[in-house]
Symmetry: C2
Subunit: 465 residues, 2 copies
Amino acid sequence: MSLNHLDEHDHHYLASLVPPDRISTGQSNLHTHSRDQSRHPAVRPEVVIWPHTTEEIAAILRYADQRHLPVTAWGAGSSLEGNPIPVAGGIVLSFAQMNRILDIRDNDFQVDVQPGVIYKEMNHQLRHTGLFFPPDPGAAATIGGMIANNASGTRTVRYGSTKDYVQQLTVVLADGEIIEIGNRAAKSSSGFDLLHLFVGSEGMLGVVAQATLRLTGIQEEFAWAVATLPTIAAAGRAVFDIRRSGIDPAAIELLAPECIEVINRARQFGLTCSPTLFVELHGPTRQHLADAMQILEEICRNEGCLEFKPGLDRTERDRLVEARHALGEMIAQAHPDHKRVVIDVAVPISTYPEMIAYAREESLKVDAASAYTFGHAGDGNIHLVVGARPKDAQTWQAIDALNSRMVAKALALGGTATGEHGVGIGKIKFMTAEHGPSLAWMRKIKHLFDPNGILNPGKMFPDNE
Amino acid sequence: MSLNHLDEHDHHYLASLVPPDRISTGQSNLHTHSRDQSRHPAVRPEVVIWPHTTEEIAAILRYADQRHLPVTAWGAGSSLEGNPIPVAGGIVLSFAQMNRILDIRDNDFQVDVQPGVIYKEMNHQLRHTGLFFPPDPGAAATIGGMIANNASGTRTVRYGSTKDYVQQLTVVLADGEIIEIGNRAAKSSSGFDLLHLFVGSEGMLGVVAQATLRLTGIQEEFAWAVATLPTIAAAGRAVFDIRRSGIDPAAIELLAPECIEVINRARQFGLTCSPTLFVELHGPTRQHLADAMQILEEICRNEGCLEFKPGLDRTERDRLVEARHALGEMIAQAHPDHKRVVIDVAVPISTYPEMIAYAREESLKVDAASAYTFGHAGDGNIHLVVGARPKDAQTWQAIDALNSRMVAKALALGGTATGEHGVGIGKIKFMTAEHGPSLAWMRKIKHLFDPNGILNPGKMFPDNE
């Protein structure tokens, strides 16, 4: 990387672009923006700036590009592969203060937002419209971060990923040029699809300054079920059969027995410690859900289901969802002396039983590690959380090898190295294996949009220039 | 364009790449590949080649790129904006013989196909799996053409466009390099989204040699309704209310009275000649559809519906769908001395009533023209078919002006110049207005992937080099 560090003149110039309370070199601010939720090493930026407008972002980038200063956009820092860690230092652009909902256009099923808005907060504010933005990564992510990462989550099996909900973007390019891409019609065949090029680009092609999101209607009725299966293999087969049945669940989450154990401990659910599926159903009528529930139960019974607990109670459902979302936290509390890595891969759905069986077997081989298998099973997405003592170098070596084996297995099955956490730093080493010759084209596109390599440097590409 | 015409050596060399029965300079073959379904002037290619393999495509492109020979990929020639007309001559690559289904992987809800397969034929062959590929442009389009154009149609309101169903592509780039993009997992956050860059690129960035498509389950039950509304404005409002209601129809087609008239004449339906909505419902149970039908009827009654005819009979439904798909043909037959243009725009759904009212008013101002308004109303997509005698220059001038006004109106409402027919030749002149500065970035991407400009030259960009 031929990038520069900031000199005194740079600091002075940047300070001239925003009021003094929106730029900081304070240690506490630099520290806050030095790491995400992963165990990738913290690197402090040299300055944090909180822009309020597209034009401010453009002015900052224009200058940074001329001076070859690194610029990393920052949402909530909730990513899991080191995606926003400013590994080359430079400028962090925090969107914490560009967090407004600009226009709720419920008549078009759309909302215009600034990138710093937290998606949960946005959905809360949309509630009166009967519409919502479905992608649900669990963490308190910002829309900008979700766009950068093409975030998805528990509801993706039915409702899709962030990429399916982005209509229009205002993007500031590396040299400060402002472009608008997309439109507000429900569909279009006009020109190359620049929109999807920016979604999932991890802030490496441009900085999103405004977004128009598509919304969808909240279904009238919901129901859920907790199904306890005898083995991981049986759970995997049940997931596959549920996907085949056409009941179109809103979530199919798999939890291995060790996950149930920590949930029971943390929330006193008293669930049987065996592989468990949490399934949520959305539908227009109670009858519709009752029919779907019957099919769901039959599938689970066919796989030797030990318990099948259907529910219609929202409080109970909310408790379950909360517990599922808090699982990472519970695992952390169960092993306070461990650091963790989340191995996130996705595979074609027919191979899901094989992939989860592999994850379980391989993780058991790593001595002295804590290992938890769960995932958004309906998408063929698996999360294997493995932890060890930070200084236990031998175990960490084994965990790294496990990570590589998991990715190799997923790729061999036709899957992907990262189902939803992005490439960031952690998945760089698998990009050549996953993408082959097309990786070179991603590099060329990066070079086209960001010839000086100032935007979120050090990510995605091996041997990054 | 600094492109060459083929010389004798070129013909000889290309003839060495495929067997003699798969390359032709016969006038009849050149004529067949000189025009699509639009009224854009025919231009004959200099040679037509029918590749059978990815490697053959690569060998042809490698040579064409060195020699700066134009190459235009050809599916079924069913497009409507001149998209595959080889305006610079050169080579047409016809995919008519690369039309096999390679692997039905119904366990993954996926199918691997060659680009020349006709989507209807493919869906027919998939029927036993209970799965289908939903985008439905009506014409006998090939999958390759649908990918090039991001095709959509009657079912898009519920099921999405072609872009939502492309999982993996084998693409041959301009210089003959073969790349694979995408994977077979239901979701991924790995690297830049090259997949969507190729979908809708109109064969200008590369040539698709193989595709893996996502499939979805055929719903158990269906129902349909024909609703006759008193005015176009009332029909527009009903469309909007149906979209708001959450009943999630599989199709909402609008037909203006003049369309009903030709359908009655061609098929003896005896429908009332007034603005009409054809709505199709898909669902898991009869009860579900009955509930939805009740909501649908209420909405239409609120808009002063003159007739509401619900149906469950598949034969009757198939007759209606066939009639809707044959509408273009019927219009042609009603005015045998007219040539026609299909003005295709899409707007945000809240503005649909305004857009269709505008279309009707403006089209009435064009004397001596035949004009038909219809469209995939649920997506805010409108088709205005306007025809006149080929030599009636004055009327054609008025029609061109009408086309420009329609697009200007759609863009002013936040919509797009082309809802589903692509840019081709016909929409080039609106690209600057629609995309502004981002059009330059589309050009840069074109130049990156195809520096010599050999792939489908003369399309999408104004003043094409």
